[in-house]
């Protein structure tokens, strides 16, 4: 189910990218298509991961209020912090007391996936907010290639690994114990 959501968002990103090839577009429309394409490519992965996170930690149905709340509890910063921790940026653990703590070894095999997702986050930020910097078609192509790679690699992760990752995310979104 969540895989289909990721693939559907990716298809939308591809359509937006194709639209940008229309020679009749003026600069504003071209920029809009490219920026939306990059942003949508990021969200393809974001929704895939948050969807799987919810499915793994919540026994309620996918569209239940509890599942919805859990899915919404995960934001971009949480994901970034957990992924940066996976990549050995220990500063994130030390600086923020709510970090997931030391990461166990098996999750290191998610390294390439984590690096690329962080790339997608930074690309989305530039596409959605840095209006003073024009986006070019190559950046959109890179975003599509990276999103496709992450979606494929995410599918290959074992259920145990996904479960472990979901637990790390859960620790991040839970308030610190007093």
């Amino acid at each position: 189910m969540t895989h289909q959501i990721g693939v559907a968002w990716l298809a939308a990103a591809v359509l937006l990218r194709q639209q940008a090839d229309d020679p009749s577009l003026d600069d504003n429309l071209l920029q809009a298509c490219l920026r939306r394409s990059i942003s949508t490519a990021h969200y393809a992965v974001f929704h895939l991961i948050t969807g799987d996170f919810t499915a793994l930690v919540c026994v309620e149905a996918h569209e239940s209020p509890v599942a919805h709340r859990l899915r919404r509890s995960l934001n971009h910063v949480d994901l970034k912090k957990v992924l940066a921790s996976l990549l050995g940026s220990l500063e994130y653990d030390q600086k923020k007391g709510s970090g997931p703590g030391p990461i166990s070894m098996p999750l290191q095999c998610m390294q390439a996936l984590a690096e690329t997702f962080i790339w997608l986050q930074k690309a989305r930020e530039a596409a959605d907010y840095a209006f003073d910097q024009p986006v070019d078609a190559l950046q959109a192509d890179q975003a599509l290639a990276n999103a496709e790679a992450v979606i494929s690699e995410w599918q290959l992760l074992s259920p145990d690994l996904k479960q472990q990752f979901a637990q790390l995310l859960l620790l991040r979104v839970m308030p610190n114990p007093r």
């Binding site: 970034k80 940066a84 990549l87 940026s89 690329t116 790339w119 930020e125 192509d141 990276n146």
Partner: protein, 107 residues
Amino acid sequence: MTSSLPKHSRHVIRRRLRRSSGKQALERWLVTEPPRSDLIASYSVRTYSDRDGDPVLSIDVVPTTDALSDAERRRRLFTYTRELTHQAWRRAPGYLNVVNVVSRQPA
């Protein structure tokens, strides 16, 4: 004697020093092990802070004309940028490292 230089908190100075050392680490690495010349025509390294204030090191790469000549070569280029990203995370830990493919170097 009082200095006319602007006063910064230790935190700001430490952050600036760290940022420049990470950039230098990446630049040194790219000089000693240049990116594949069949795929990358030129590159530059820049630093910036993301929206949460976290430090980002970006390697902006301009591909060769040949690298963009067909779908298969483009795919190879994007796969290679992931390898470069992986190296960058190892060379400059403590940063969010990204490799961006651009048509021309940012001004």
